[in-house]
């Protein structure tokens, strides 16, 4: 009887690792188009409107970049953790607390600090808050082996509820239903064009630095070994617990920075709309980029375009903006199915003839 089996490749297939994400994107658009057609909308018109909404004019493109910044940062944050197979799905909460801490500094230290220190301190506070929030699950995992998927995720809800308490009750500006007062100008993160703020520089610099760390440094190598083969890591004398905590503090700090730049660069006050799911989309960004920091920049822009495109079809065609989320979710499924071809090839075993190989 003929059988089709997977056979391990000698080395990772480069061709498969570039083809799989592209095919996944196409498959997602195809399936999404089917969904649109079934729900009574014209998929071609919808996709055209989404594309135009995200890239049609310079103005629209800057809005796509605005949404791409937090996705780049949280994508990088998640990638560091995933490198070690530490499933940090708490980027959302780390981002939220980063925003809260930055807002706290901008609101309450404005009088007592020299103006020029306010912005760097607010950004730093965001990093520290994100790092500490990620540090809780990291320490629990490293020293007590408590499952990190659940702890990071549960802390998202706690952080978001806390931020809600602040902007609805504790820090609410008099005369408003919700939201704090606007920060003094010294705490504003400068904008480059449109609403695109300087956070984009931070994201790109971090991507390059992380790419270097992953590729060229001993620490990057250690993180990879911990993820791929913890037993080997132990034999090599790598301190796993300490590395996990350090890397996750860094991961949390970058997500915290994402929140801080959102708050200081866009709304310039703490208000509703800080936690809109970037921390979850970050998982798709990191995975689709195969944890490559430079690829994360591009994938983040792509994912942001789906969000902005989704908003556009809601405004112009009355279709749910959630279509963008559906497409994002749909990308990961064929991607996961296809990843096997990077490590394995299909082989048809036919007992009558010799094995015939099929490249896949």
């Amino acid at each position: 009887m003929r059988r089709i089996v997977f056979e391990k490749r000698e080395s990772m297939s480069r061709r498969a690792s570039t083809l799989v994400p592209i095919i996944s994107l196409l498959a997602s658009l195809l399936l999404g188009g089917l969904l649109l057609a079934i729900s009574g909308a014209n998929p071609f018109v919808t996709y055209y409107e989404m594309f135009r909404g995200a890239f049609g004019t310079w103005n629209r493109f800057t809005e796509t970049l605005v949404k791409a910044i937090p996705l780049m940062l949280t994508g990088l944050s998640v990638a560091i953790a995933f490198k070690m197979r530490f499933w940090n799905i708490g980027a959302e909460g780390q981002l939220t607390l980063g925003g809260v801490a930055a807002a706290g500094v901008a609101l309450f230290w404005a009088q007592s600090l020299p103006g020029w220190t306010l912005l760097p301190l607010a950004l730093l506070a965001g990093c520290v808050a994100g790092a500490l929030w990620a540090g809780i699950p990291a320490v629990l995992k490293a020293y007590l082996s408590v499952d990190e998927t659940l702890t990071t995720l549960m802390l998202n809800y706690v952080a978001i509820l806390y931020s809600e308490h602040l902007y609805y009750v504790a820090w609410r500006a008099p005369g408003y239903n919700s939201g704090t007062a606007t920060f003094t100008e010294a705490a504003w993160l400068p904008r480059i064009t449109g609403r695109v703020h300087a956070g984009i520089y931070l994201a790109i610099i971090l991507a390059v630095v992380l790419w270097f760390v992953f590729k060229r440094t001993r620490w990057g190598f250690e993180l990879q070994i911990i993820g791929e083969n913890p037993t080997a890591a132990r034999y090599l004398g790598i301190n796993i617990a300490q590395n996990v905590v350090l890397a996750i503090l860094l991961s949390g700090a970058i997500s915290g920075l994402a929140g801080a730049t959102e708050v200081l660069g866009l709304a310039r006050r703490l208000q509703q709309g800080l936690s809109v799911g970037y921390g979850y989309t970050a998982i798709i960004v990191a995975w689709m980029a195969q944890l490559n920091p430079l690829a994360i920049i591009g994938v983040a822009i792509l994912m942001a375009s789906l969000l902005v495109g989704g908003d556009q079809i809601q405004m112009r065609m009355g279709l749910p903006a959630a279509m963008g989320l559906v497409l994002q979710g749909l990308i990961l499924i064929p991607m996961l199915a296809g990843m096997i071809f990077m490590e394995y090839r299909l082989r048809i075993i036919d007992p009558h003839t010799t094995g015939m190989e099929v490249e896949a």
């Binding site: 549960m154 009355g318 749910p320 559906v326 990961l332 499924i333 096997i340 394995y344």
Partner: protein
Amino acid sequence: MTEFLRLLTSVLTITLQAGTSLTYATLGEIYTERSGILNLGLEGMMLMGAVTAFATTYYTDLPWLGVLVAIIVGAAMAAIHAFLSVTMRANQVVSGLSITLFGGGLASFLGQRLGPEAHSGRLAGLVAERFRPILIPFLSEVPVLGALFRQDILTYLMYLLIPLAWYYMYKTRNGLNLRAVGEAPRTADAMGIDVIKTRYLYTIFGGMLTGLGGAHLSLAYAPGWTENITGGRGWIVIALVIFSMWNPARAILGAILFGGINAVQFRLQTAGARIPASYLNMLPYLLTIVVLVVMTWWESLSHLVGAPAALGQAYMREDK
């Protein structure tokens, strides 16, 4: 005294109502994990179950049909997870996450698209037929324990399902095979058990129960559809499976604990407690973390191996 008993009865009634969806999903995930598959897609599957059950019931006035649709939807989504993690050997954590992200997005899309034209396609805010509490004569009048008999039909079904699920897992041949696949797939394979088929079967079965849990939310507990109706319940269930130590008989305990937190929260809020609402709402999530830490610590102390040994690992006969 009677006042206190009445309060206790009402808290227990709400506890069981809130715990029903959790218990169904917990039972489902216990079966899935026992076969060696970790499914983190529960949150997305519950959301999809809730939205499809509600939409079906809204148009047909048949809540049972809604339940059936939710079960099918849960099964279909679980089948995707099974395909990715069993056949394509994808990372189970990421595969589950993708199901949750996709399910969450799709449920939100459908919630704004499946409603009637006159309501601009939205399901939120609509009222549909639902499962109402059925008071069992005499028994429901008993103080405190009467709460057990003031529930809707899905909760009564849950009372039946728990012992059945326990019996099947520990007292039948199939249950033994299931546990073997999760503990030692290679040995199970050598014994002639079809590992791949078993994993597909119980992952899909888990999806069915999870979809049913979602249906209970939109058809009985919080009747109606609201965006993000699950509020993280799908994730809490993952912790409840650990809390139950993969034993169906204990699935109800976690549900009572967490349902109880909901009830206490609800009571405190209506009593006008001075604690801010946001802080009260944090309780279930904080409790999940505490439960996880305590369970992990206790299992390591008592050298109990709770989790199926092969949980989360793909199996391929050709690998050595």
